[in-house]
């Protein structure tokens, strides 16, 4: 079951918010409402967050992402629509039940840390437990553990204003982790940090996530951060969700011009992975002759080489179109099998390798790269041409699929 389900959620501020929702549903634009003094912060947002994933909501300031986040833990109530947490409808909960849920199941990490200046680091980290009404000993122990988890062991008796920004945010993170809530809401949590520290914190969050498997909803306006952290990313614009998908989906198949212009400056080589640009390989067995190999190569116009795979599906070598054609037409003896023809200086890579990581292996060979899974089975192939095309302009013919495709992608994700 999805951890969080957001169903057609609207949030409208100002006078007569319900009427604002009706007008939006009737096709009115955000700008029209603003002229009447009502602000539509979130318009018709629907998505799900799966257990254990990092779901990033990305958008510029004013896009409604913070408002959206605050509806996930009931700090704000949707004007219309439902938010389901573990299948429970938040809008139907009493304020006491809602508070109880916030204290035990959903924690939050803030942009400007929001540490209590009148409490020391330990007391800050223990705050959520204090609200839960845990005895002092237990909460101090668990807060100490949480601080150790974020690398702040030994700083318990310090005061927030004695710490650097990065350390303060670690306290914020420890405070959220100490309650053992399984959902973390992070509101631009790293935006106030300087770039080096930010990168550090992102890596540490990913590392923690591997151990703790929390469900994290992360808000950011920084696309690189979104790409780096997000298992899936929702791009918001003017209160609407423009696209939901993996980093690669968004890079490779932007839903509209807005998303496309947004992603054009992204360092694609560090976001796209081998898995996202690989093509179906043409495979042959070592025992088959050139005629079989020629027929296989003819089925795919783009393929100029075939992979020779062993019995377990593992690649053992490659044969080029020229070699096959030469064997077929040049000598006519027909005695050569693929095992005789193939070149065995294969370069293999994993599906998770970023494009930047593919460049060096690609330079060592003229042959396509073989993408293999954990068991060594061949799953795809990346030609040098495809690699260069993927690093290039996303609007170029090689990487831009038609709109119908991207629409399908968004829909698939939404229904997943």
């Amino acid at each position: 079951m999805s951890k969080l389900v957001i169903e057609q959620v609207f949030k409208v501020f100002g006078r007569k918010p319900k009427e604002g929702v009706r007008r939006l549903q009737g096709g009115a634009q955000r700008q029209e409402l603003r002229e009447g003094g009502t602000t539509a912060a979130v318009i018709d947002a629907s998505f799900t967050v799966e257990p254990g994933e990092i779901f990033v909501v990305m958008g510029l300031s004013g896009s409604g992402k913070s408002t959206l986040l605050r509806m996930l833990n009931g700090l704000l109530e949707p004007t219309s629509g439902r938010v389901l947490f573990d299948g429970r409808d938040l809008t139907a909960l009493s304020s006491k039940a809602l508070r109880d849920m916030r204290s035990r199941q959903i924690s939050m990490v803030f942009q400007h840390f929001a540490l209590f200046p009148h409490r020391n680091v330990l007391e800050n980290a223990a705050y959520g437990l204090e609200v839960q009404g845990r005895p002092r000993e237990e909460r101090e122990q668990r807060a100490t553990e949480a601080l150790a988890l974020v690398g702040l062991a030994g700083w318990e008796r310090s005061w927030p204003d004695e710490l650097s920004g990065g350390m303060q945010q670690r306290v914020g993170l420890a405070r959220a982790l100490a309650t053992e809530a399984d959902v973390l809401l992070m509101d631009e949590s790293f935006s106030a940090l300087d770039p080096l520290i930010r990168r550090d914190m992102q890596d540490q969050l990913l590392e923690l996530q591997q151990r703790l498997h929390k469900t994290i909803v992360f808000i950011t306006h920084d696309l690189n951060e979104a790409m780096h952290l997000g298992d899936r990313i929702a791009v918001m614009r003017d209160g609407r969700i423009a696209q939901v998908g993996t980093a690669a989906d968004i890079l490779v198949a932007p839903a509209d011009d807005y998303v496309a212009s947004f992603v054009q400056d992204v360092d694609r080589s560090r976001v796209l992975t081998a898995g996202s640009i690989m093509a179906e390989p043409v495979t042959v067995t070592p025992a088959c002759g050139p005629d079989v190999a020629m027929r296989a190569l003819d089925t795919d116009d783009d393929a100029h080489a075939a992979f020779v795979v062993g019995p377990g599906g593992e690649p053992v070598g490659t044969v080029t179109e020229e070699q096959v054609s030469e064997a077929l037409h040049g000598h006519h003896d027909g005695g050569h099998t693929m095992a005789d023809l193939m070149a065995t200086d294969l370069v293999t890579t994993g599906a998770d390798t970023t494009l930047a990581g593919l460049l060096t292996p690609a330079s060592r060979t003229t042959l396509p790269l073989a993408v293999v899974d954990e068991t060594g089975r061949l799953t795809g192939v990346i030609s040098t041409g495809a690699l260069l095309a993927a690093l290039g302009d996303p609007s170029g013919p090689a990487a831009a699929p038609d709109c119908g495709d991207s629409g399908a992608t968004a829909k698939e994700v939404a229904s997943a």
Binding site: M101, A114, H118, Q132, L185
Partner: protein, 604 residues
Amino acid sequence: MPRIHLGNWAEDAVNWLTDHLSWLFDFISSVVNGMYDGVEWVLGGPSPLLMAGILALLAFWMRGLPAGVVAFVGFALIDSLAQWDQAMQSLSLVVVSGAAAIVLAVPLGIWAARRDTAALVIRPVLDVMQTLPAFVYLIPAIIFFSLGTVPAVIATIVFAAPVGVRMTELGIRQVDPELVEAADAFGTPPLGTLLRVQLPLALPTIMAGVNQVIMLALSMVVIGGMVGAAGLGATVFGAISQVDIGLGFEGGVSVVVLAIYLDRITGALGDHVSPLGRRALARRGSAAGGMRVLRYRPRPAVGVCGVTVLALVACCMGVFAGNGNGSAPHVSAAANVGKGQSVRIGSFNWDESIASSYLWQEVLEQRGYKPAVSTYDPGAAFTGLATGSLDYLTDAWLPTTHASYLKQYGKDYTDLGAWYDRTSLEVAVPSYVKGVRTMADLKGRSAEFGGKIIGIEPGAGEMKLLRSTVLPGYGLDKDYQVVSSSTASMLAELKRDYAQKKPVAVVLWSPHWAYSTYDLTKLADPQGLWGPGDSVHDLANKASGAKLSQVSAWMRTFHMTEAQLGSLEATIQGAGQGNAAQGVRKWIGQNPGIVDKMAPINGG
């Protein structure tokens, strides 16, 4: 524009409240009085130096050794200015009204900070409380609560509480919204947010508000003195209305010592109670090197122990030293007419008022009564007489000067007749100004007097009469401007100009001590425009006048000549400020038989 009779409605409202809610006012009155008496008993009980020691120890505890030493020196100074009792009375007044103001203000401030609608309602009320002149509600307060401590406390609360409300509201609203949201995001219930986050973080601002409440409360003690609250206010008020610069200065210095002490202590309290303040304090302590001793402060436990031990010593001494001052004058059985009945006599800081009321106090004491004289602003005294918190007033100028009070409260008074005839209103000039003997002589000499006649309070009947009738009558209204000020300012101006022998014309009246202090010429009024003048009457509260029928009978037959009054006033002046009773005793000694003449005993 239609005339809106707001004043009448206010008056009706006051009357309605007096008629229907007197039980409530009596209750508040007894609570406030009880609190004040308790605090005053504690503060004023121990011997001055011991109490000074306790207060100094408190300063030592809160702020360190230098503060403690300075506090002790300050309080010792108050004691040596002979203002100790008054200072402790004022301190009690400040403690009671300050505490009440804070207890009211902080919850209101919290409410206003959390509810915008509450803030919307509260703010204009605070504006009114802060800006409405104190006397506007002081007189109704006297009607509700009678004279003395209670109206002073009420006025102080009204004046001081708004700052507490505002600072509390400000402090809570200033707390970073992200912190409040963080508390909310961790599921803190509203009360928890208030107690765990908002109040601790707002505390420095709230304590600054508490400090201001205390300081404003102290600044109201002088006003309190005008409605009969004991303390430095009475000293200062008495001093300014008699232009006794020396006494005023002594009272003023005592107020300043109290103010600095209270300011520093409440300021330090702010540092001690708020977590942020404690941290700042600790950091400051560890950062600075140098003189350890000067920064040493006793730990809380030691501080509490010290204060407690001294307080216990104070209690014991109070117990053993008590009952030493009950030396009532010996009264022969035949003369003991009063049998210990109490008689409350009101007085204002007018010379003939002090002279007559203290004279009656002495006489009634010799007749076995327990009389007490207290001094008020005239408006307060007349209101107090009407409500029964006073039994007698000896200085009602009738039919003109005090006519308005008689019109308002006449049904509550019994007029015991005139004891002095006849007062006069006049313009006076120093006798070194030659050639000015009558009002008409002022004509054409306005340049000499700077075109000014120095007047008194703008509302005084004499001022109105001068402007509307006397000056036009002598054709002086073009040449002279009547400067409104106050009686004290007028006398100060007279004193200054007299010392420099400058020509000056002042609004004055007889009897007045100025005539015995300075050599002045009363300007004659050949046209009789000032009117026939008043007589000075004794007034009794209707009920008291009947109950104390013997005293009323004596007052009916009482009469004084100008010579008698003059010599009495002079003797009182000679005895020095605050020694009116001694002066009266001396004068009685010089006038044997006066007591029997004033209060004859039947068959005696």
